[in-house]
Amino acid sequence: MDAVNTLRASAPPLKASRVRSGRRVADRVLVVASTLATLLGILVLGSILLMLIIEGVKGFSPLLFTEPTPGPGSEGGGIANAILGSLVLTTLGILVATPVGVMAGTYLAEYGRHSKVADLIRFLNDILLSAPSILIGLFVYTLMVKPMGSYSGWAGAVALAIIATPVIVRTTEDMLRLVPATLREAGAALGAPPSKVITSITWRGASAGIVTGIILALARIAGETAPLLFTALNNNSWFSANLMGGIPNLPVMIYQFALSPYPNWQQLAWAGALLITVTILALSIVARFVIKSERAR
């Protein structure tokens, strides 16, 4: 009896403390694990940047921007033709994607809010947004490279445009939806036709957001490699205005040179990698600030 009493007296606090310690352990584990996960993410980004800076700065010289890529086994050289080619391809891609993307986004946000076709397009656009870019490369290969008989800069630009468009469609639609309906009504009440309301009221109201979308699309296609492998490919020649042949470009150059046996090619690949990563990270950060200033307004 005595023993039972002491048991009873001691049991509840014992049990409670066991539960409490179990809870504390679970909580500690969660805190430590999620902090570590975040640290790991930051560490990986840091390590990537560190790698690029250490390896890339070694190869940095003014020659990079003035000399074309060297042939196999020859010394020196730069990546000027690849830089120029990449600029041309991404510019062309964005020039095609921007009007199509903005207009399609406008349709989804302004005309087709409640239509079935718009719902379908919105859904498929979201899927296209995360579709593997290599499949887009295969599509453009069948569409353009095969009929025309050779790799071409035009095909590369079209592939990049197809990748950029869904990004622009999506951001344009989202940003237009943020424009208050009262503004549109005010425009319509003044007698402006829908196209006038859209171009001078809603587009203007959402301009910062739309620009952000275009910058994001630019950042996305600037580093795309897989689709360019089957479309623009690469060559070591000095850049020519003729976009009918293969066009030198940074991503494919990096891919081919990084895995090559020549030390100077590898060096150029690292320099190109540093250049392209810094550019893309800068674009992403700029896009963030554009949208932030818009929200603050």
Binding site: L30, T142, P251, T277
Partner: protein
């Protein structure tokens, strides 16, 4: 003054000065925006049609055996997809096993634990991981990660498990070079973390604060709040985010091509080199012609079907996820 009255008088007498809304320019604008939107439809079906067209000869030549055959012999023109399909699925599943816990950890840290001043910079750093081009991940994986992985994981683990049943084959590296299916899975995991983490964080942020506060108020620990309040509330969206990550991992090309080893071999060990559908296409496409080219297109067709099923499920679960 006289001119003004004159003008008013003129407008009064004539037909209404205002053009009827919905004139020609208006219709052109509407048609242009509609056409642009339809272009998106066209592109998606164009992708499917072109790949199916290109891959058709391979499907006709090998029949359903194309999917179940493991051979990939360019000399004898015998092609099968099984090794690449298994490599694709295995690397993507490994990426989820590693990446999803990491992403959830980051999302919980950002929404529950992070001090206010650090929240924005930390969130931005994690999101910047998403904008690093995949070819850079490939170079990092091959030149930085793989040597470390070979030295500090593959070699010790291989020694440890050698001769043991099951784990002895699963984690044994015959050539500890650092590249292989598991390396590809780890790199893919890092690449999907920013996507899954940022969608999950948004979903957790949308849960009403009252719910969280009342749970803390009755004495719950952070773990209990996450486990019993936040996760059940956001579970559907989190699964959607994970599927979105899976879609990315399945189709990722350049990073995988660098680190998977590109071998046409079916191996039981996750340390051995293999290949995925995307990496094989990237590797062989430029030198391929004839039936090999058709077979690569057919591989692309299979990849299309797999990823699009995954992405459709994902989009149904997270209807309006973030851009890129």
């Amino acid at each position: 003054m006289a001119a003004l009255t004159e003008q008013i008088a003129l407008t009064r007498t004539g037909s209404p000065a205002r053009k009827k809304p919905g004139g020609l320019g208006d219709q052109i604008f509407r048609a242009a925006s509609y056409t642009s939107a339809l272009l998106v439809l066209f592109v998606l079906f164009g992708i499917l049609a072109s790949i199916a067209y290109g891959g058709w000869p391979a499907f006709r030549e090998f029949g359903p055996g194309f999917i179940t055959s493991t051979s990939w012999n360019i000399g004898r023109e015998q092609y099968g997809a099984l090794v690449a399909i298994i490599g694709t699925l295995a690397s993507a599943v490994l990426a989820l096993l590693i990446g999803v816990p990491l992403s959830l950890g980051i999302a919980v840290y950002l929404t529950q634990l992070c001090p206010g001043w650090a929240r924005k910079p930390v969130a931005m750093t994690v999101e910047l991981l998403a904008s690093v081009p995949s070819i850079i991940y490939g170079m990092w994986g091959l030149f930085v990660f793989a040597p470390l992985f070979a030295r500090f994981v593959q070699m010790p683990v291989s020694h440890l498990v050698e001769g043991l049943p099951i784990v002895g084959t699963l984690f044994y590296a015959s050539v500890p070079s650092g590249v292989g299916i598991l390396t590809a899975g780890i790199i893919l995991a890092i690449m999907i973390v920013p996507f899954v983490a940022s969608i999950t964080r948004d979903m957790l942020d949308q849960i009403p604060t009252v719910l969280r506060e009342s749970a803390y108020g009755i004495g719950c620990t952070t773990w209990e709040v996450v486990r019993h309040v936040l996760v059940p509330q956001a579970s559907v969206s989190i699964i959607g985010a994970v599927m979105l990550g899976l879609g990315r991992a399945l189709g990722e090309t350049m990073a995988v091509t660098f680190v998977i080893g590109n071998a046409n071999r079916l191996s039981a060990s996750v340390f051995d080199p293999g290949s995925t559908i995307a990496s094989r296409i990237a590797n062989e496409f430029n030198e391929a012609d004839g039936l090999q080219l058709n077979s690569l297109m057919a591989l692309g067709c299979i990849l299309f079907v797999i990823t699009f099923i995954v992405l459709i499920i994902a989009r149904l679960l997270v209807r309006r996820a973030k851009v890129a």
